[in-house]
């Protein structure tokens, strides 16, 4: 017997932090709000120099507090927000209850985490900053982004053979 349908969410949530938890189906134009959120996020990445290769080098050499301050204060604000959302059972603007998937441990967080750390120090960018770097006009970073897509694809290709 084949597995029943509706495994789509299971596949999508494999190895993913960001999953669309919404059950509502909405028109494509409703996504404009995420475009706007992305614009603000991109501006902040640039203004805070989070996308700067030299700032990343300083972080990994303990020569500057800046990046630790950015990430640390982001986590504090994020954690307080998530606590308040849960505490007051806030709903989305469309009236849906907010769900956040729990994360399961896998060895991938260690092996993959180290590999990503290598790549972060080499390129000076995590995935978000790659997009913002291209926006600043550093078009050669398109090559880095395409290579990152290739890396993601190869991961999917060899996934079954890797320890998890």
């Amino acid at each position: 017997m084949q597995e029943p349908i509706n495994t789509d969410f299971e596949v999508r949530s494999q190895n993913a932090m960001c999953v669309n938890q919404s059950e509502l189906s909405s028109p494509l134009s409703s996504n404009i709000k995420y475009l706007l959120a992305g614009i603000v996020f991109g501006i902040v990445l640039i203004k805070a120099e989070v996308i700067a290769w030299f700032r990343i080098q300083e972080m990994f050499r303990l020569q500057s507090f800046h990046m630790y301050g950015v990430i640390g204060s982001a986590v504090v604000v994020g954690a307080i927000s998530v606590y308040l959302i849960k505490r007051f059972q806030l709903k989305t603007i469309e009236g849906e209850s907010i769900k956040i998937e729990e994360k399961n441990f896998s060895k991938g967080q260690i092996f993959g985490g180290l590999l990503f750390g290598f790549g972060w120090a080499m390129t000076g960018a995590c995935p978000g900053p790659l997009f913002a770097q291209i926006g600043t006009g550093a078009l050669v970073v398109i090559v880095t982004l395409l290579s990152a897509m290739a890396g993601t694809w190869v991961y999917g290709f060899v996934r079954e053979k890797l320890p998890h």
Partner: protein, 187 residues
């Protein structure tokens, strides 16, 4: 444009704004913050090749592609209208280390002496851009998230696997920057 906008923003302004992305996306539509998944959705959309990991309805996650398109647009806006042209100020120790690799131009956020088209054909440029990019894409998916998904969203939701991932991101970065990169930059 007022000067405080044009100058680089301090961490205590930028960090909280980044943190607010978490509740913003949840309240806008139950979306959990994360960026590296966009790379996977592109694979699922363009080249699924019957690989189970890419066989899902990526259109259900299209919000994520809108978000990264926004990040790109934000980069264009900020770079053209919201920054001044003063060179970056970096730690003197970093500057003297970089000088030994022939890197002394601090005009842009991305050092043009390392990241440029002709450099792609050199060993140093190829390794940093192509191999580095590959590791970002492979590593984040293997880890199940990147700095945004694990370090910001995951830690905000007090997920201990995200703490493990974040520690490994940092460990990998420290090893690369201090032990391996000095050799790569001399290539």
């Amino acid at each position: 444009m007022p000067e405080w906008i044009l100058k680089p923003w301090p961490w205590y302004v930028a960090g909280p704004l980044i943190g607010l992305t978490v509740p913003l996306l949840l309240l806008l539509g139950n979306r959990t913050f994360g960026i590296s998944s966009s790379l996977r959705h592109v694979c699922a959309a363009c080249l699924p090749a019957k690989i189970p990991f890419f066989t899902y309805d990526w259109k259900k996650e299209i919000w994520n592609l809108f978000f990264v398109a926004g990040v790109l647009l934000g980069g264009i806006l900020a770079a053209n209208f919201l920054i001044d042209t003063t060179p970056m100020v970096v730690h003197p120790k970093l500057a003297s280390e970089m000088a030994t690799y022939g890197i002394d131009n601090y005009d842009g956020l991305i050092p043009s002496q390392v990241f440029n088209w002709p450099a792609l054909l050199t060993a140093r440029g190829f390794v940093l851009m192509v191999v580095g990019g590959f590791l970002v894409g492979f590593g984040t998916r293997y880890a199940g998230g990147c700095t945004s998904g694990h370090s910001i969203m995951g830690l905000s939701n007090l997920q201990w696997p995200s703490l493990v991932a974040t520690c490994c991101f940092m460990a990998g970065g420290f090893i690369m920057a201090n032990l391996i990169l000095p050799f790569l930059l001399k290539l």
